[in-house]
């Protein structure tokens, strides 16, 4: 190789070795292989050589160009890799630092219980219906076959509100969500299959009574619905809700003005351990019965054509039993610690509601 080429080669190798940053490397590359780079210039000067010289020098130059090109490229990759390595090193952090989590809200157990009930009854064809918290006495009592002097009416401690206008009677805060049943029967033609979860009010306040609580009532109206259907419906619901396929369920005759026959529903439990489905004791959880013909007639349904059943249960009571909540009053106190303890995560498995 010609001396000048040997020198250029040597010089370039040296320069590449010394180039550390990408710009240094680029300067080397341009200085040798660029448009006016040293090697490029030499190639350009080739035309001035004699033909014999040109061939030999041309070969040499080409060989040198190929070599230097590949060396420059190789060095380029090395520098890139070095840069990446040093960036990675520079960017190293302490990954044990705690993550930044947005605070999560939770679903109140009362809401969750209503949702569970809604889903379980929906499986049996029930839809949710609503009504106002302030009711007329007719909707809350009279239509439900509870006349003014009826002892059942005095046994409920009812909150009264001033009349809606001068010539009407005092209104009440609903003592049950039965008014929703009445409204449904007045506006919807049978067959009817609804549940009515909602707030209810009674003038009672102690460790086991709250002036406001929630009830879920149900109503089925059809031509051939019997007490056998009532039993199936409530047994199914209770066993699914408590996720105990063998939960003992007992129906016991009782009395409500709006149903006949009427019955209360007990589930088996152990008074000592509090465990549901175990032990020899019974715990009342529901009221139910076949809709009284008078209630149907009050709502314009001919009782010789239609019949059905109705039921009602305390939502807090069932929520307490299912989730082991001891104190009724704590539901409404909105203590963050309690809410965090008993609340349900937003994405908790909805399919698991009610177990099966």
């Amino acid at each position: 190789m010609a001396n000048d080429l040997e020198a250029l080669r040597h010089e370039t190798l040296q320069a590449l070795k010394e180039a550390v940053t990408r710009s240094e490397w680029d300067a080397v590359r341009v200085g040798v292989l660029g448009r006016s780079g040293k090697l490029t210039m030499l190639l350009r000067q080739l035309g001035q050589c004699s033909p014999e010289e040109r061939k030999a020098r041309g070969q040499e130059l080409n060989r040198l160009r190929d070599e230097l090109t590949s060396l420059v490229e190789q060095r380029g990759k090395e520098i890139e890799e070095l840069a990446l390595q040093s960036r990675l090193e520079a960017e190293r952090v302490d990954v044990t630092r705690p993550p930044v989590l947005a605070p999560q809200g939770l679903i109140h157990p009362i809401s969750r219980t209503i949702e569970e009930m809604t889903i379980l009854f929906a499986k049996m064809g029930f839809n949710v219906a609503e009504g106002p918290d302030i009711e007329t006495q007719w909707h809350n009592f009279s239509a439900l076959n509870t006349p003014d002097h009826h002892p059942a009416r005095t046994e409920q401690d009812t909150f009264y509100l001033p009349p809606a206008n001068d010539d009407s009677e005092a209104q009440v805060l609903r003592t049950q969500t039965s008014g929703v049943q009445i409204r449904t029967m007045l506006t919807q033609s049978p067959p009817i299959r609804i549940i009515a979860p909602g707030r209810t009010y009674r003038a009672d306040h102690d460790a086991t009574h709250s002036p406001m609580f929630h009830q879920c009532e149900g109503l089925v109206i059809d031509r051939d619905v019997t007490l056998g259907h009532l039993k199936y419906c409530l047994i199914e619901f209770l066993r699914a809700f408590f996720d105990k396929p063998d939960l003992p369920v007992r129906f016991r005759p009782s009395y409500f003005p709006f149903t006949e026959p009427s019955m209360e529903v007990d589930i088996g439990w152990s008074r000592q351990s509090g465990e549901l489905g175990a032990g020899a004791d019974w715990l009342e959880v529901l009221g139910s019965g076949m809709v009284n013909p008078r209630v149907l007639a009050n709502c314009g349904l001919d009782p010789s054509e239609w019949q059905g059943f109705a039921f009602g249960m305390g939502i807090e009571r069932l929520a307490m039993l299912k989730n082991g909540i001891a104190d009724l009053r704590s539901f409404y106190e909105s203590d963050l610690r309690w809410l965090r303890h008993y609340g349900f995560p937003v994405l908790s498995d909805i399919a698991a509601m009610g177990g099966r």
């Binding site: 605070p103 149907l296 409404y332």
Partner: protein
């Protein structure tokens, strides 16, 4: 209602165990609330005799007693602190292992002050039988030794307490319960209850009825009675069911009432003036009753009056002026059949609860009136002596029995019960129903007089909105159908509900759609909780003072009978509860790190009626972490929360407008309302007014919002068109507008959008600048506009034209100019 088994046995022949009785009671609808078994409660206690008593060597107040308590405990030592412990005294002894109910301890053998003590000598208080104790109980010197105390004291008589539903007035007596049990096949109701006692002499008093509430009244004078304490057996019976014995005359009336269900009243005849007892309307005024309270009567109320005035509030409570006392010798007994509604109305108005009222308002057995009087007479004569006068009566004993027909198929088609009609008829007959007519399909029964609940044809309360035809058709058969339900219910409870087989519900026919609200709530709830808000449930009522801070209070929403002074007003918004929640939790040091954030979905009351509202508050500060300082919440957090919910409910931001006119409890400069169209306000958002913040003891800023969930329209269900998946790149351009302080960002954005509604796909505010570089009172709004070409790429000319259109549109709408 309580009764003891020995008492039940007076009326029912049976062999069943206590457990069987309780099971049957529950099965037939007489719910057992509690069972008290003294034999279990007092197991272990036995009779004993103190053989000798001597001073404890190391304690002045203690004695060492040698006791004989029968087999196994013939000669044991007991240390006793009672001053009355002495030799030869017959006592109650508790051997080691005995539970002492009065002290809630279990006795152990041990040493007291160094002396062996192998049990305990007891007072009645320690057995839970007496109130006070002056030392240990002293038994008769004839008491045997080593006998179970329960047997000795004849306490082995379990007491059952049952809950009687309001329709079952007939079961408010031992005899009524016996009748039900007998009908259910548990034993046989005893007959031969009644004696008729011939009265001597002429009646010296007459009844006169002048009140429709008195249907039938009877009474008689008994002279020469010794009133004093009742015999022990009578006292024990009354005590066993929780009544305090008073005197023979009072005890007998109570006893007969409990046994037969018929309330009676005993007047001291010498305190009655005149010879007519008048059942009549009260003279308005005060009446001093036996309970020592004065009641203000009205002319509606029914009293029994003598020549001088009211001596008894009929069917409820006697008067003090005519009460029997220890000196009473001549007693006038009264038994009557009063109207249930009259007694209920007066009783409820006066708030006086008595056993008599309780029974009358649930309906007593009119055929029992005479018998009860005779039974009471017989008992008084046998226990207190004296001579009975003739019975005097007025009014008419009701004798008409209602009819009820049972079509046997209804047992199956209503109750789902497969049973032999003959069995059903038999059950009803055992309950006192009498077959008037019967064929293969049905039977008609005469309803016993004591069953006021069966075939009681009350008036309907039909909805006023029903058409006349519909109302008539619905009412046509209702009485017969309800009576039939009554009969089915009777058969069902005696047969047992467990005989009804569960049947799956058939698939629904034409069920109505679920309510919009019920479908929305779970979604809204999850969205809010997912944004860090904790769900709460607060009372619908709050204090009037709190409520008044939020809205002018409507007295219509104030409870007439609140349970507490701070729960007297229906809340105008759940914010009242939420702010108190925030206050309480922050005061407890809870809710740090952005956790002081709550929401509630529930009713709000007020001008717009009872509507379902979503309300939320954020207080406290967010968590600190490296590079981020703690931040107070601000109005924009609230607006963002609110908008997120609305988006989820199908209301895109572009379809809403914001106005700065939130209710007065918000900070006036940092709050607004979201509206659809010019009128419909969907919700409000902003920061809490500082004045309210002070009242709620909240020092930092509070962001909050309210959303009327019932006003949010349901999005129309449209079939989705194909999406625009243009292959052309969207183009983004930034604009900076110089806007006066009164120019609303919303208007600028809207004007930009209007510049070319086809091409402009998105408009965003990315910067707001206020500062020295701008003229005073101006701010610069940085707006990013996204253009989405549809068919071909935009040319430079098109882009220029668009920029100009944007500039002009904004200029025209708001006066803001483009900064260059």
């Amino acid at each position: 209602m309580k009764f003891s088994l020995s008492w039940l046995r007076d009326h029912l022949d049976y062999t069943a165990s206590l457990e069987e009785i309780c099971t049957i009671l529950n099965n037939i609808g007489l719910e057992v609330e509690s069972v008290d078994e003294p034999a279990k409660r007092l197991a272990g206690f036995r009779t004993a005799k103190i053989l000798e008593a001597s001073r404890h060597p190391d304690a002045d107040r203690l004695q060492l007693c040698r006791v004989n308590a029968g087999p196994g405990f013939e000669n044991i030592q007991v240390v006793c602190g009672a001053p009355n412990a002495r030799a030869d005294l017959h006592v109650i002894f508790a051997p080691p292992g005995t539970y002492i109910p009065g002290s809630d301890i279990t006795i152990k053998a041990g040493k007291i002050r160094g002396q062996k003590s192998e049990g305990m000598l007891c007072s009645l208080r320690e057995l839970g039988l007496g109130e006070e104790s002056n030392g240990i109980a002293e038994l008769s010197c004839t008491a045997p030794i080593g006998m179970d105390y329960v047997d000795y004291a004849k306490l082995d008589d379990p007491v059952v307490e049952i809950a009687i539903t309001p329709n079952r007035g007939d079961a408010l007596s031992v005899r009524g319960i016996a009748r039900d049990l007998g009908a259910a096949g548990l034993g046989r109701l005893k007959t031969g209850l009644i004696e008729t006692i011939e009265g001597k002499g002429n009646p010296d008093r007459q009844w006169k009825i002048d009140h429709h509430g008195c249907i039938f009244v009877t009474g008689r004078l008994i002279r020469g009675v010794r009133n004093g304490p009742s015999p022990e057996w009578l006292q024990r019976r009354l005590e066993s069911v929780g009544l305090t014995p008073r005197s023979l005359l009072v005890d007998v009336t109570n006893y007969i009432m409990l046994a037969l269900g018929q309330p009676l009243h005993a007047f001291d005849a010498t305190k009655l003036s005149g010879n007519v007892l008048h059942v009549t309307h009260a003279c308005p005024g005060e009446f001093l009753a036996l309970d020592g309270k004065e009641y203000v009567l009205t002319g509606e109320d029914m009293v029994i009056a003598d020549h001088q005035g009211a001596v008894s509030l009929a069917g409820i409570i006697g008067g003090q002026n005519s009460a029997v006392d220890e000196n009473t010798t001549d007693v006038f007994l009264e038994a009557a059949y009063f109207d249930a509604v009259r007694v209920a109305l007066t009783g409820r108005r006066l708030g006086v609860q008595t056993d008599a009222r309780y029974r009358f308002e649930r309906g007593v057995d009119p055929s029992m009136v005479r018998f009860a009087l005779e039974e009471a007479t017989a008992l008084i004569l046998s226990l207190g002596g004296g001579e009975a006068g003739p019975v005097v009566e007025a009014g008419k004993e009701p004798q008409t029995r209602r009819r009820a027909t049972l079509r046997f198929e209804r047992l199956k088609t209503l109750a789902g019960l497969d049973m032999d009609p003959a069995e059903a008829v038999r059950y009803l007959e055992h309950l006192g129903f009498e077959v008037a007519d019967r064929d293969d399909e049905k039977a008609t029964f005469l309803v016993p007089l004591w069953r006021h609940d069966v075939a009681a044809a009350q008036p309907l309360a039909q909805a006023l909105s029903l058409s006349e035809e519909l109302a008539r058709k619905a009412a046509h058969h209702v009485n017969a159908l309800e009576a039939e339900c009554d009969l089915v219910e009777e058969v069902l409870r005696l047969k047992g509900l467990f005989h009804v087989a569960p049947v799956p519900l058939p698939p629904v026919g034409n069920a109505a759609a679920p309510s919009v609200l019920s479908e929305r709530l779970p979604v809204v709830r999850r969205l809010c909780a997912g944004r860090g808000l904790m769900e709460t449930v607060g009372f619908s009522f709050v204090s009037g003072q709190d409520a008044a801070l939020f809205e002018e209070i409507e007295t219509r929403e104030r409870l007439v009978n609140p349970i507490a002074a701070d729960l007297d007003q229906l809340r105008p918004t759940a914010l009242v509860n939420l702010l108190r929640t925030l206050e309480r939790n922050l005061a407890r040091g809870l809710g740090q790190n952005g956790e002081a954030a709550f929401f509630e979905i529930g009713p709000a009351f007020g001008r717009n009626g009872n509507r379902t509202l979503l309300a939320a508050v954020r207080g406290g500060v967010t968590a600190r972490y490296p590079g981020h300082a703690a931040q107070e919440p601000c109005w924009l957090d609230a607006k963002s929360d609110l908008m997120a919910v609305l988006e989820e409910l199908g209301m895109p931001e572009a379809s809403l407008s914001t106005t700065a006119d939130a209710p007065s409890y918000y900070h006036p400069g940092r709050s607004g309302q979201l509206r659809q169209g010019p009128k419909l306000v969907l919700g409000s958002f902003g920061e809490l007014h500082p004045r309210l913040a002070q009242i709620f003891n909240l020092t930092g800023r509070v962001a909050m919002f309210e959303l009327d969930l019932e006003r949010v329209p349901q999005p129309k269900v449209k079939r989705k068109s194909a999406p625009d998946l243009s292959s052309l790149q969207p183009v983004r351009r930034d604009f900076a507008f110089l806007a006066g302080a009164d120019v609303a960002v919303q208007d600028v954005i809207r004007a930009v959008r209007m510049a070319d509604r086809k091409l402009i796909s998105d408009v965003r505010l990315f910067d707001v600048y206020e500062g020295d570089k701008l003229p005073e009172g101006y701010r610069s709004l940085g707006i990013e506009v996204t253009l989405q070409p549809k068919e071909e790429s935009l040319t430079d000319q098109q882009l220029e034209a668009l920029a100009l259109a944007v500039e002009q549109s904004v200029q025209k709408a708001t006066g803001a100019s483009l900064r260059r």
